[in-house]
């Protein structure tokens, strides 16, 4: 996962999210997203398939 993102690729993500960003905020948002990219990278640790599960889910009655 790259920590940089092109203006075009960033616009695709915004479109998919349905977010309108004012032109004057565009660069600021893109810079902030690059910091977020680093965090997305950070939560991905090398793990095998049998690493401990993502989370638990409790049905009613538990």
């Amino acid at each position: 996962m790259s920590e940089t993102i092109s203006t075009e690729a960033f616009q695709v993500l915004l479109d998919r999210a349905g977010i309108r960003v004012k032109p004057e905020h565009m660069e600021e948002m893109r810079s902030a997203f690059m910091l977020l990219q680093a965090m997305r990278e950070r939560v991905r640790k090398p793990r095998g398939y049998d690493a401990e599960p993502a989370h638990i889910f409790a049905p009613m009655g538990r």
Binding site: A54, I56, F57, A58, M60, R62
Partner: protein, 472 residues
């Protein structure tokens, strides 16, 4: 006497205990059947003859010494090849994991071994429990014992086929969207997706952790209950494992179903999903049987099937992609096309879609809990039709036919598929029986009562029997 391979676990257990049946003899019989027939069926990825015979001799010694461990002692079983087996390859039916040899047993693998079962081998599956029915993997897909030209369903395809064909007395499957119940339905056997958290997933290759369940597949529901007695153990190593009292599987076997309230989710199969008339007729006939057994039958209403299907799809694709993204990016060529395509869909799901699916899930769980205030079990079909021809599965899966099984992965409810008769073409019909969380014993009791009140358990795959006779 019934042929060895036609014995149920419940029938074999007293013979084994009484030393009238030898585990060695029983295991040898199954191994020779596998040897003779699995070339056509492809239920096994790997057969373990030496290990199985050694385990059988050990079991025999133990039983002879009076060290009888219980109804599974000496019983030959198979494991879907996503259950980790120490020192034995566990492939997920994938080129990616072709040489994956686990260092530890899955918790369930260990529990079954400790109960004295004999592991015959590892059973074929859809690749990583999601990609199937596929023809581009290192091993061929399993076939349906009722008609070798037909699909056994997946993903626990080998587990279903092996039981129906009499190549094992019990098997383990996993179920994230229907992967135990689908093959149970199309192979005409009994398969239980237990309550979420009742059976440990530690050491089972995950597909989607909040929807994954491990569970037993056997010829009868009674046999599934015998397996569950061993499998239902709290496991601190599976964070999803529930620390609850074990349901009373043994006690439940002694009780009847008189007075139980059955809720029929009629809109599921009459309006929400196109369902074959023969499947519907099978359900109606079953309801007559249940009324005769003293059950009260009413219709109930849940949210439309598609509400469950959409939430479950968003959750399972997101979770599956999270597990596979690293290898999928690095070595996509090691996945079969179907697994790759299906897992890849997860890349397009936004975090908020996943979060909203979890919120919707909470609502649907609350809704089903309120329905369970007035009924004891729910009934609907497992699959909307009978097994299609092998290779035609793609046509079966469409939005006009949303899944009946995924519903209960989402809610975590215990859900059992049983055989409810046969189509005119001789393929098994199916029915799903669903209960409240942790009332798996009740669900199995209802399934067992139905099987005993009908004669469908007396019929083994005809074509198989003919071929078997011809071979002998």
């Amino acid at each position: 006497m019934t042929a060895l391979h036609d014995l149920t676990i419940a029938e074999a257990a007293p013979l084994l205990k009484a030393k009238k049946l030898s585990p060695v003899e029983l295991t040898a019989s199954y191994l020779s059947r596998i040897e003779a027939f699995d070339g056509q069926l492809n239920a096994f990825i790997r057969v373990l003859p030496e290990q199985a015979m050694a385990a059988a001799r050990k079991a025999e010694g133990e039983i002879m010494r009076g060290d009888y461990k219980g109804p599974l002692h000496g019983v030959p079983i198979g494991l879907k090849d996503i259950y980790n087996t120490k020192g034995i390859p566990t492939t997920g039916h994938s080129a990616l994991y072709k040489d994956h040899v686990p260092e530890e047993d899955a918790t369930t693998t260990r529990l079954l071994a400790e109960a004295g079962t004999i592991l015959l081998g590892k059973l074929s599956t859809w690749e990583f429990a999601i990609g199937g029915t596929s023809f581009d993997l290192p091993w061929p897909p399993a076939k349906n014992p009722w008609n070798l030209a037909h699909d056994p369903a997946g993903s626990s395809s080998g587990s279903g086929a092996a039981i129906a064909a009499g190549l094992a007395m019990g098997s383990m499957g996993t179920d994230t969207g229907g992967s135990i119940r689908g093959p149970a339905a199309w192979c005409g056997i009994s398969g239980l997706k237990p309550t979420y958290g009742l059976v440990s997933r530690r050491g089972i290759l995950p597909l989607s952790f909040s929807l994954d369940h491990g569970g037993p597949m056997c010829w009868t529901s009674e046999d599934c209950a015998l397996m569950m007695e061993v499998l239902a153990q709290h496991d601190p190593l599976d964070p999803g494992s529930a620390d609850v009292a074990k349901p009373d599987f043994a006690g439940s076997r002694q009780k009847d179903v008189k007075g139980l309230r059955i809720g029929v989710v009629r809109h599921f199969f009459e309006s929400d999903a196109e369902t074959d008339p023969e499947i519907k007729a099978g359900i109606e006939a079953a309801l007559v049987t249940f009324r005769e057994l003293g059950c009260a039958v009413t219709d109930v209403t849940l949210s439309p099937l598609s509400a469950y299907g959409d939430a479950a799809a968003l959750i399972s694709r997101s979770e599956a992609f999270a597990f596979h993204e690293e290898t999928l990016m690095a070595t996509p060529e090691l996945y079969g096309e179907l697994a790759r395509q299906r897992i890849m869909m997860g890349a397009f799901i936004r975090a908020c879609d996943y979060v909203n699916a979890l919120r919707e899930r909470g609502r649907l769980i609350a809704e089903i809990a309120s329905v369970f205030e007035s009924v004891d079990v729910l009934i609907c079909p497992t699959m909307p039709g009978v097994a299609p021809k092998l290779g035609d599965l793609g046509n079966m899966m469409s939005r006009s036919r949303p899944s009946f099984t995924r519903v209960f992965n989402l809610t975590g409810s215990p859900a059992l598929s049983v055989c409810s008769g046969f189509s005119t073409a001789g393929l098994p019909l199916n029915m799903q029986i669903v209960g409240r969380p942790f009332q798996d014993d009740l669900v199995l009791r209802v399934g067992s009562a139905f099987e005993k009140a009908t004669s469908y358990r007396d019929l083994r795959p005809a074509q198989w029997a003919q071929q078997a006779l011809a071979a002998e």
